[in-house]
Each structure stands twice: as structure tokens, then as C-alpha cells.
Amino acid sequence: MSESALAERFNQVVLPHLGDALALARWLTGNATDAEDVVQDACIKAHAGISGYAGGNARAWLLTIVRNTSYTWMARNRPRAMMAVGDLGDLDDMAAAHGTSLRDEDGPETSLIARADTAALEAAISALPQPFRETLVLRDINGLSYREIAATLDVPMGTVMSRLARARNLLASELGRAP
């Protein structure tokens, strides 16, 4: 493929999804300024690898690169914010430490969740352990399907589903607690 065709492809594949890329990077790094740096790095990688893009969902393809770049970037620039994540056993421990109570008798108030203000919701998402947060953001903010998320995170679909459910339960109990 010629240089200009590759450049054209880059424009078509990458540019339309910058908003999603920034949104994901913002939630993975924690702030919008770092997100721009990360997305720029990711786009340089995407540009280098554009010939390897084999069609399919361009957004999912770009977000996979953004996600991986975020963690490389975080490890380099914000090493203290990085939490090493091991296997699923660790995840369960993290969830327990986070004070989740799966399906208690009546559960958190739906009306409180619906009324939650932006700041509270953003704080609650930021407080999610990273594997839950990235799953939730890819699904509810970036709108990827379970299958695309599984491919992006390189985990089985069942893991995506359980992490998503866990993430939402954590958020719901955080927001649904009466003040």
C-alpha cells in the first residue's frame, strides 16, 4: 500500500474515534491532560501499525492500542498509581477489600443511583479497581460489545461479564448508599 493510501487509512480509522480514545485514556490515567499524551502516543503506534489493521471495528482496534499504551505510559510516568494485577484470585480479594456485598436483601436504592451527580459518579468510577474500571468504561462509555471487550483485554468473555457485573455492583452500592 502506498504512503498516501496508508495516510488516508489512518485518517479514516483513527481520527473518527479520538473522542472515544480520549475518554478511555482519561479513565485509565485519571485525568484529561495525561489522556491527550497517551492518545497521542497511541496514535503514533496506531500509525506505525496501520498496515496491520485488518478491517473490523476500527474503534475497538484503536481502543486496544490506547489501553495498552495507557498502562505503558502509567508505568513510566505514574509508577505509584499503578497497581500490579495478578490473577483472578487477587481480583476477588480486591473486591472484598472494596466492601462489595453482592446482592444484599433489598440492594441499593435505584432512585439514588439515577439521581447521582456527576462528581459522585466520577469519583466512584475512579475508585474502582483498574480491571473493573476498564471493563466498565469500555462497555458503558465506549460502547464496545462483550466480545470486543474480551478481545481488547485478552480475557474470556465470562471474565468480561463477571468483571462488568462486579464493577456495576460496586458503583451501585457506592452511589445507592443513603447519604
Binding site: F10, A23, D106, A114, I141, A165
Partner: protein, 301 residues
């Protein structure tokens, strides 16, 4: 919760996953129907369902980050980096393929300059048509005329000619940087950090002497998008003042002595050294900026 033969999980956790999948539109019609029936028959499941719907709605309503024009242009510039570098190697006149990706992305006075100097190229680009319907050739012609009429650098805020448009863009870039969270994209007093950063981003990096001993400390750099293409900008600090130094790669090797373009409370000086065309702007007094320019010119040789 026993006695269901609808193929759905019977443990609460498994059933919870099915409700999430239903809300996310991941179930086929048969499974969705079965889950909806279970929800209808079980108030606890119904409450869970309502919570998930409410939560999804709340997360979906969160404000999303804006993609600024400047950022979009920066990313678009990456797409042209390879062709750029080739051009550069072959002709030692950088940044000339760039306008083709950028018309329309940065709407601004600076673009007129592009149209004026490169009418044949911009006039034939398909992307230009996609972004807007105005005729580049007519625009170019009108700018040529206005460039003749406007005699050199007069009031750069008036957008009366090509130089002025560029100067105005430099000035507004500087002003914006003062308002932004950070005036720099790469923060370092080490020119060996700043130069490679700029080189990797846009394939050009101007001389970046550290003049800390003279009272002008290099604090970093950023990429400005002016006249539809990315140009390197260095940021120096002098006491509490910031100086933005935009260095536009130049072809033709003209040199020009410093020229005063100050206006609107900002001091601005423009000069060329053959390889780059420099624009220094700051809210310092003019004599101080002249001092900076003199020291920079001496150190950059």
C-alpha cells in the same frame, strides 16, 4: 429459586450476569424473552434490573472529553509523518506535504497564508472539498492581491496579509498557552529532551539553547498548529514572564533582521536565520524581549 427449565442459570450470581447481558443487548431473542419472564416473576430480579438500567443511564450521561481542534490536527499530522520525513530527506525542505491533511481542520486566518503560497497544491486536494465549499483558488488570488496591497508587517491583529495572519496565530497560541493548564507539552530544561520530543512529534526541531545563565530558562516545548501545519514552539521563562518562541521551518534560506510586531500588550519580534523563521512573543517589555532575541540569536548560531 428452583424449578426453572428455561435454560437460564439458577444461581443468583449467574442470573445477575444474564440481567446485565440483557441490559447490554447481548442476548438473542429467545434468551432475552426467558430473562424478561424471570424478571417479571421476581421482584428482587426486577429491582436488580432497574438498578443496572439506572446505572448505565447515569454513566452514559457523563460528560465526555472534548477533542480540541488543535489536538485533532496534531493527530492528523502523525498520519503524514512518513511522507514528511521522506520529503525532508530528499529536498531538505520540510513540512511541505502537510497541508494536504489539514485544510479545514484548523479554520483560521493562518490558512490564508497557505492558500496564498501554495495555490496549485491546495486547490487540487479532495480533502479540502470534504471540509468546506469555498474555492481555494479564488481565495488564493484574493490573498495575493491583499498581500500586495498590505505593505509588509503592519498591525498583525488586523489579519490584513499573510505575515499578519501567521503572527496573529502565534499571538493567539501564546495567549491560549497562558490560559491552559500547562503552557508546555513537554516540560524539561534539558534541550536534549525537548529537541528529540519535537523531532519525534513533528520531525523538526529548532535550535533550543538553554539561556538560563542569561536569565532565560528553557522550560519546555509544545506543538503549535499554525497555517494548518504543526510547528515547534519553545517556551522560555524570564522571571515571571513566559516567552513563546515559534520556529517555522523555512525554505529558501532568507535571513531577516528582527522586526517589531508588538501589539495589544504583547511584545513580538520576528526574524529569520535561513533555516527557521522565528516568532518570539511575550508580555515582557520590548527591550527585554530584544535582549532575549539577541542572546538566542547568538547562542543558536
Amino acid at each position: 429459586m428452583t424449578g426453572h427449565d428455561d435454560g437460564l442459570p439458577n444461581d443468583p450470581e449467574g442470573m445477575g450476569l444474564m440481567i446485565h447481558a440483557l441490559v447490554d443487548g447481548e442476548l438473542d431473542a429467545a434468551a432475552a424473552l426467558a430473562v424478561e419472564r424471570r424478571i417479571a416473576a421476581d421482584p428482587q430480579l426486577a429491582a436488580e434490573h432497574a438498578r443496572i438500567v439506572a446505572l448505565r443511564g447515569a454513566v452514559g450521561r457523563l460528560p465526555r472529553p472534548d477533542v480540541s481542534d488543535a489536538f485533532r490536527a496534531r493527530i492528523a499530522a502523525i498520519g503524514m509523518a512518513d511522507t514528511e520525513r521522506q520529503d525532508q530527506a530528499e529536498a531538505a525542505q520540510p513540512r511541505r506535504g502537510m497541508p494536504s491533511t489539514l485544510p479545514g481542520l484548523i479554520a483560521g486566518a493562518g490558512q490564508r497564508r497557505q492558500a496564498g503560497t501554495r495555490p496549485s497544491q491546495t486547490g487540487t486536494l479532495p480533502r479540502a472539498r470534504r471540509f468546506g465549499s469555498f474555492d481555494w483558488r479564488a481565495m488564493a488570488a484574493s490573498i495575493m492581491i491583499s498581500a500586495v496591497l498590505a505593505s509588509g508587517a503592519t498591525q498583525w491583529v488586523m489579519f490584513s496579509g499573510a505575515e499578519d495572519g501567521f503572527a496573529a496565530a502565534v499571538a493567539s497560541g501564546h495567549r491560549r498557552s497562558l490560559l491552559a493548564a500547562s503552557p508546555i507539552d513537554i516540560g524539561s530544561s534539558d534541550r536534549h529532551t525537548v529537541k528529540p520530543w519535537l523531532d519525534a512529534r513533528i520531525g523538526v526541531s529548532p535550535p533550543a539553547p538553554d539561556l538560563a545563565q542569561d536569565g532565560f530558562a528553557l522550560i519546555g516545548g509544545r506543538v503549535e498548529v499554525i497555517a494548518g501545519r504543526p510547528v515547534p514552539a519553545l517556551v522560555y521563562r524570564h522571571r515571571e514572564h513566559l516567552i513563546t518562541l515559534v520556529a517555522e521551518p523555512q525554505q529558501g534560506g532568507k535571513t531577516a533582521q528582527p522586526d517589531d510586531l508588538s501589539s495589544s500588550g504583547f511584545s513580538m519580534v520576528h526574524w529569520s536565520d535561513g533555516a527557521f523563521s522565528y516568532w518570539a512573543i511575550s508580555d515582557m517589555e520590548r527591550p527585554e524581549l530584544d535582549d532575549f532575541v539577541a542572546r538566542f540569536r547568538k547562542a543558536a548560531v
